[in-house]
C-alpha cells in the first residue's frame, strides 16, 4: 500500500467511502481529498513532464500541484476539497475527451 501520510490523531470521525483508481477506500469526514488519497497510497497524479508522480506541495491552494480528476473528467484541487461520499477519483489524466457529445 505504501501510504505517504500518517494519521496522528482525530481518528474517531465518521467514515466516508470513495473510489480511487477503481479501488474503494475509506476516508474520514473532514479529510481533504489529498489526505484521503495519501493515507492509502503514495501519490495523487502523474507528472506531465517527468516520469514521476506528484503528491502535492503547499497544502494551501497555492502551488496547484495536487489537482486530481473524477472519472467524469471534473478537475478537483485535492488540498482544498473535502471528501464526499461516492467520489470516483482517478490519478491518471483521462484520455482527452474530445469526441463530440450530445
Amino acid at each position: 500500500m505504501n501510504a505517504r501520510f500518517v494519521r496522528l490523531a482525530e481518528q474517531g470521525r465518521p467514515i466516508v467511502k470513495l473510489t480511487v483508481d477503481g479501488v474503494p477506500i475509506e476516508a474520514l469526514q473532514g479529510d481533504t481529498l489529498m489526505v484521503a488519497l495519501l493515507t492509502h497510497g503514495p501519490a495523487l497524479r502523474q507528472s506531465e513532464f517527468d516520469p514521476g508522480s506528484r503528491a502535492g506541495f503547499c497544502l494551501m491552494g497555492a502551488c496547484q500541484d495536487c489537482w486530481v480528476w473524477t472519472r467524469s473528467g471534473e478537475r478537483l484541487r485535492a488540498c482544498s476539497n473535502e471528501v464526499r461520499e461516492g467520489l470516483d477519483i482517478i490519478t491518471q489524466q483521462p484520455e482527452a475527451i474530445w469526441p463530440l457529445r450530445g
Partner: protein, 384 residues
Amino acid sequence: MTLNKADVVIVGGGLMGSAAAFFLRQRGQSVILLERDQIGQYASGVNFGNVRRQGRFLGQLELANRSWALWKRLPELIDDDLEFIASGHMRVCYREDEIPELEAYAAAPEAAQLDLQIYRGSELHARFPFLGKDVKGGSYAPHDGHANPRLAAPAFARAARRLGARIEERTEVAQVQKVGDGFSISTTDGRQFSAGQLLITAGAWGQKLSAQFGEPVPLETNGPQMAVTEPVPYALPTVIGVYTKIPEEVIYFRQIPRGNIVIGGGYRSKPDMLNRRAYVEPRSILNQLDQMRRLLPGVGNLNIIRVWSGIEGYLPDSLPVMGPSGNVDGLYYAFGFCGHGFQLGPGVGDVMAELISTGSTRTSIEPFSIRRFALSAEQRSKAS
C-alpha cells in the same frame, strides 16, 4: 568612438525589423537596428502565433505565400524552428449561409496555392470530432500552422547579429530626418546615427515616425486578448478559428505539443500607451470561456492559468503600411499589421530587403502603400 553609420538603419525591433535586418545582411547591406525596449517585446511577442494564410485579403496572399516558403526553411535560415508546426488551419462557421463565403474564398485564383478544402455537416464532424455541434462548415488549409511568437523576433535578431548586423536594444529614437542623400537619426541617450536608407518597422509607434516625414496615418492601437490553459494530453493538431461577422464569436485556439491550449480573440482592449502596457479585460476572458465551451465542448474541464495582452497597431482598412515612402527617397515602411502580421514576418523582411537593396520587389505590395492615406487626405481636403 563607434561609427554609427550604416547602409540601412532600421527603427523598431519587432519581427518585421529583425527579419529585415537578417535579409538585408544576407544581401550584403550593413545594418543597424534600433529598438527602444527589447526585441520582439510588443505585437511580435504577444500575438496568437498563427502561421496562417487562409482568410487574408486576397491581395496579400502573394506576400503570404512568399513568407510561407521561408517558414519551411527556418532551421537552415536562422538555426531555429520557432516551434513551427504545419498543423493545418480550419476556419469554421456557425451558419449554413456562411459556407458559400468560405467556398468563394477557396475558389479565388489567389488562393490556389493554399489547397483549401471545404467541409460541412457530418463529414466535418467525422474529420474534426472535437468541434461543437453548432459548427456547420469549415475551410481547411492543410499547409498552414502555428509557431511560438515569443521566440521569433529574438531568433531573427540573433541570426542577423551572427551575420554582422548591429542590434541596439534599449535605444529610443528621438528624431529622424532626411539630411542630404541620407538620414540622420538621433536617440534619447544623445547618440547620432546616419544611414543611406531608413526602414521604419516601429509597429504601433510607426505613425509617430511617418508623421515626422509628413506622412501621418490613422493608426489605432489595440491589445489582443490571449489566454492559455494548463497542459493536457496533445490531441488537437489543427489550429481552429471562427469565421463570423459577430465580433465576440471571433475566437481561435491552438494546442502546443506540451499540451497547453492557447486561446485568443473575441474582444480587444485599449492599451495604456503611456506605460506601454496592455491588459486583458475580465469580460474578454469570460467571453472566451463561453465561446470555447461552444466551439470545443470537451474543454470544459480545463483551467485557464494565465492571460496576457500587448500592443498592436491597426489601420482602418485592416491592411498594413508597407513599401516606399510617398515623399522621401530612401525611406521605407513596414508597420501596422493589424494583428495578422506574424505569418507575414519572414516574407516582409525578405521583401523589404529586396526592395531596399534593388529598388523594387517581385512581390505585389502596392495595396499596402502609405500613399493611400495621403490620397484620401487629399480627397477629403478637396471635398471641403
